[in-house]
C-alpha cells in the first residue's frame, strides 16, 4: 500500500501478501483494547474491594459462580440478558447516525403497555398466536412511534435527542400509570394496579430444556438482521455517512431526515419488543414493574459493544452474568447491592476512555502510517 515507488505489479503483490497480517493487525485492535479495558477496570475494582476490606479474588470467583459457573447460573444470566439485547439495539441503531438515545426505557414501558392494552378486548376470543402477534405489533408500533418522535423532533425542530428521549421516558411512565391505575385497571386486584392478565395459556413459553423465554432467540436473530441492515444495505451505508458527516451527507442529497426518523423508529420498535416480551413472557400483564431499568442498562451494553449489533449479544450476556451474580455477592460477601453497579460504572468509564486509543497505538498501525 505504501510502497508506491515499486512497479505497479509488484505493489499489488506485496499488498496482497501483507493484506492478511495487516487486516489481522487492524482487527486485533478491536479485541485487544476492549480486553485491556476489561483488565484495567478489573484492577481498579479490585482496589475498591481491597479498600473495603473484601477479597477481590473471592469476588470474581463469586461472579463466575453466580453468572456462569453452573447450569442454573447460565440460565439466570441468559434470562437477564434477553431484555438487554433489545434495549441495547435501541441505542446502537441511532448511534450509527451519531444520535445518542438514552430513553429506550420509555419505549420499553410503552411497548409493554400497548401490548397488554390491546390484548384486553381480545383475551376472551382470540387464539394465542393471533393474540401474541397483535400484541407484538402493538408493542413495536408504540415503541417505534415513541422514539421515532425523538428522531423527528431532532430533525425538524432541532431538539437534542438525548434530552428529549430521557424526558419522554418520564412521560411514558406517567402514561402507563395513568391507564393502569385508571381506565384499564383490572378490578380483581385491589392492591397492585395492573391491566387484565392475558392468561397463563397465552403466555410465551421457554426454550425447551431451559428457563429462558423465546425472547432471547428473537433478540439474537434481530441483532443479526440489524447487523445486515446497517452494514450490507444502502440504508445502512447512508446512515453511516450521515453519522460521519451530516453536512456532507446532506450535500450528497441523502434524505437525512428520513434516515433519522426511520432509524429511531427501528430502535424504538426494538425496545417496544422488549416490553412486549416482558408482558407476554414474564408478567402476563402491564404494571409499574415494567419500569425495571433494562433500558438504561442497554445504554451500557451498546456502548461496550461499540454499537455493533453482533457484539451486543456477548456483551449483553456478560452484563447479564454480572447482574445474575449480584445477589450471590450480596449474600456471601455481605456487600451492598450497589457493588455491582460500581463495577458496571467503572467498566463504562474505562471503556469510554479506551475509545480514545483507537488508531493511536502504533503497534496496531501499518508501518507506513506508524
Amino acid at each position: 500500500m505504501a510502497d508506491t515507488t515499486e512497479t505497479p505489479g509488484f505493489a499489488v503483490e506485496t499488498s496482497m501478501a501483507s493484506d492478511l497480517p495487516e487486516r489481522f493487525r487492524r482487527s486485533a485492535e478491536f479485541v485487544v483494547i476492549p480486553l485491556l479495558a476489561l483488565i484495567v477496570s478489573g484492577i481498579l475494582f479490585s482496589v475498591f474491594l481491597a479498600l473495603l476490606g473484601k477479597s477481590p479474588v473471592g469476588f470474581f470467583a463469586l461472579v463466575w459462580k453466580g453468572g456462569f459457573g453452573t447450569s442454573f447460573s447460565w440460565q439466570n444470566t441468559l434470562v437477564r440478558a434477553a431484555p438487554l439485547v433489545f434495549t441495547a439495539l435501541c441505542v446502537a441503531i441511532p448511534a450509527r447516525l451519531g444520535l445518542v438515545i438514552i430513553g429506550g426505557e420509555g419505549a420499553l414501558v410503552l411497548g409493554g403497555f400497548a401490548a397488554a392494552a390491546i390484548a384486553i378486548p381480545m383475551i376472551d376470543w382470540a387464539p394465542t398466536f393471533l393474540l401474541l402477534g397483535v400484541m407484538a405489533i402493538a408493542g413495536m408500533l408504540a415503541g417505534g412511534i415513541w422514539i421515532g418522535c425523538v428522531g423527528a423532533l431532532r430533525h425538524y425542530r432541532g431538539v437534542n435527542e438525548t434530552i428529549a428521549s430521557l424526558l419522554m421516558f418520564y412521560i411514558a411512565v406517567s402514561i402507563l400509570n395513568f391507564f393502569v391505575e385508571g381506565a384499564l385497571r383490572d378490578p380483581s386486584d385491589p392492591n397492585k394496579p395492573s391491566t387484565r392478565p392475558i392468561g397463563s395459556d397465552n403466555m410465551i413459553g421457554v426454550i425447551p430444556g431451559t428457563d429462558v423465554h423465546w425472547g432471547l432467540l428473537v433478540g439474537v436473530l434481530l441483532c443479526g438482521l440489524l447487523y445486515l441492515l446497517m452494514n450490507r444495505t444502502t440504508f445502512g451505508f447512508a446512515a453511516q455517512v450521515a453519522g460521519g458527516n451530516l453536512r456532507a451527507a446532506q450535500s450528497q442529497g441523502l434524505p437525512v431526515g428520513k434516515l433519522m426518523v426511520v432509524s429511531c423508529a427501528i430502535a424504538g420498535a426494538c425496545a417496544g419488543l422488549a416490553g412486549f416480551f416482558e408482558v407476554a413472557a414474564i408478567h402476563g400483564k402491564a404494571n409499574a414493574s415494567l419500569v425495571a431499568g433494562y433500558g438504561f442498562t442497554g445504554i451500557l451494553v451498546s456502548f461496550l459493544a461499540r454499537h455493533n449489533p453482533l457484539v451486543i449479544i456477548p456483551v449483553a450476556i456478560f452484563l447479564g452474568g454480572i447482574a445474575a451474580s449480584g445477589g450471590l455477592v450480596q449474600r456471601r460477601m455481605d456487600l451492598p447491592d450497589a457493588t455491582v453497579l460500581v463495577l458496571q460504572g467503572l467498566l463504562f468509564v474505562v471503556i469510554l476512555v479506551s475509545e480514545t486509543f483507537y488508531g493511536r497505538l502504533s503497534i496496531f498501525q501499518s508501518k507506513g502510517e506508524a
Binding site: N76, V79, H283, S289, A324, D337
Partner: protein, 370 residues
C-alpha cells in the same frame, strides 16, 4: 373467594389460640435437616427506615436462632430478577424457606417457583394465598391498621389545630384502611379531629413526599403520619417544621428526637421465629397467618418526646382493648361522600375480610382517591 375468607378466619383464630400447626405428617425434609436456611428478598434497601427495614430487623433477630442461617438480598425488583434471586438462594445456598417480602413478588414469581420446588417453603408478606395456590406457598401479614388506630388516638390528643396530616403512597386497599383507622383513633378521643390526605402516587418518591409533607404543614396540620415505603422524609420534614409525627412500618424514633409520638410498626420477627421453630420441629407451616396486637404481629414504637401523659395513657388503654378484640370500626360511620358505611350500633370485626377490599375514605378525611 368465600372459601378463602372462611379458612382465613379460622386460621386466624386458631393461630391466636396457639393451634396454628395442623399436622406434622408428610413433612419429610426439614425435620431431618441439620440446619434451616432462610432466604429473604427485599424490594428496597434494608435500611430504608420503613417496610424493608421492618423485615430486616426481623431477619437479624432470626439469625440469633440456633441452627438457622439467613441469606438476604436487597433491591430486588418485582421482575424475573426476583424469581432468579429466590432460585439462586435455593440452588446455590440451599435455602429451604423463602420469605418474599414485596407485594408484587407473589404473582407469578412465588407461585411459579413453589410449583417448581415442592420441597421448599415459600411465604409471602401480603394476604394473597388462596386454596388454589400450591400448598408449599403461603401468606403472612400484619394488620397494621390496628397500630395506626393507636397512632390516631395519640395524635388526636396531641393536636391543637385538630388537623392531622397523612402522606399516602397509592390509594389502594391497605393504605385507605390505615388512613380510615387513623381517623377513627383520633375521633375516638377528639371528635373535632380531621385527617387531610395527600397521595404521592408512588411507593417511594422522596421529593413528592417532602412536598406533600410541607403542604400539609402549611395547611395547618400539626401532626403528620404516612403510609409510604420509607417514611424517613416525612418524619424528618415534620421534625424540621417543628410539629409532631407518628411513624409507619419501622421505628423512625431516631429521626425526630423532639416531635416523635409513637408509630405503627410491624413485628415480623414473631412470624419469622414462629416459622423457623415450626420447621425445625417438623411442624407444617400455616398457609395463611395474619393478625395484629392480639398475636404480637404489630406493635407501637416506644413513645418519643412528642407523646404527652394523656396520649400515652389513652393509647395504652386502647391497645389493650384492641388486643381483647374490641372493634375499631364502630358506627355510625359515613363514607366521604356521605353514604353510610355503618349505622349506629353496628361494628366491623377487626379482621373483617371486607376491610381488605376498602376502596373508600370515611367522613372526616379530606383528600381525594382519584
Amino acid at each position: 373467594m368465600s372459601k378463602f375468607k372462611l379458612s382465613r378466619r379460622t386460621i386466624l383464630k386458631s393461630s391466636a389460640a396457639g393451634l396454628a400447626a395442623l399436622s406434622s405428617a408428610g413433612l419429610p425434609r426439614f425435620a431431618q435437616a441439620a440446619g434451616l436456611t432462610v432466604g429473604i428478598v427485599y424490594v428496597g434497601p434494608r435500611d430504608d427506615f420503613g417496610w424493608n427495614q421492618a423485615h430486616a430487623v426481623a431477619a437479624a433477630a432470626l439469625k440469633d436462632v440456633p441452627g438457622v442461617t439467613v441469606v438476604e438480598e436487597e433491591n430486588v425488583p418485582e421482575t424475573i430478577a426476583v424469581e432468579k434471586s429466590m432460585e439462586s438462594m435455593i440452588n446455590l445456598d440451599g435455602a429451604n424457606l423463602i420469605f418474599a417480602t414485596s407485594f408484587g413478588y407473589y404473582k407469578p414469581f412465588v407461585l411459579d417457583l413453589a410449583a417448581k420446588y415442592p420441597d421448599v417453603q415459600f411465604r409471602h408478606a401480603a394476604p394473597l394465598w388462596t386454596e388454589a395456590d400450591p400448598k408449599n406457598a403461603g401468606s403472612y401479614f400484619g394488620y397494621l391498621d390496628q397500630a395506626h388506630y393507636i397512632d390516631g388516638i395519640a395524635a388526636g390528643l396531641s393536636t391543637t389545630t385538630n388537623k392531622l396530616g397523612f402522606v399516602a403512597a397509592k390509594p389502594i386497599g391497605t393504605v385507605l384502611r390505615n388512613i380510615n383507622s387513623f381517623l377513627l383513633g383520633a375521633r375516638k378521643v377528639n371528635p373535632d379531629a380531621t385527617v387531610q390526605v395527600i397521595f404521592t402516587g408512588e411507593w417511594s418518591m422522596p421529593v413528592r413526599e417532602a412536598e406533600a409533607a410541607n403542604a400539609l404543614v402549611d395547611a395547618g396540620c400539626d401532626v403528620l403520619t404516612c403510609h409510604v415505603d420509607g417514611p424517613k422524609v416525612v418524619i424528618e420534614t415534620a421534625e424540621s417544621r417543628g410539629i409532631k409525627c407518628c411513624g409507619h412500618n419501622a421505628s423512625q424514633a431516631p429521626l425526630a428526637p423532639n416531635g416523635f409520638i409513637t408509630g405503627a410498626e410491624y413485628k415480623w420477627e414473631t412470624i419469622y421465629k414462629m416459622f423457623a421453630t415450626d420447621l425445625a420441629e417438623g411442624e407444617a407451616l400455616p398457609n395463611f397467618t395474619g393478625g395484629g396486637f392480639d398475636v404480637d404481629f404489630v406493635r407501637s414504637t416506644p413513645y418519643g418526646a412528642g407523646a404527652t401523659e394523656a396520649a400515652i395513657a389513652a393509647a395504652d388503654a386502647a391497645r389493650e382493648e384492641v388486643k381483647a378484640g374490641q372493634p375499631i370500626f364502630v358506627g355510625p360511620i359515613n363514607k366521604q361522600d356521605g353514604t353510610p358505611l355503618l349505622a349506629a350500633g353496628e361494628s366491623l370485626d377487626n379482621y373483617e375480610p371486607a376491610l381488605d377490599q376498602t376502596d373508600y375514605l370515611i367522613e372526616g378525611v379530606s383528600g381525594s382517591i382519584t
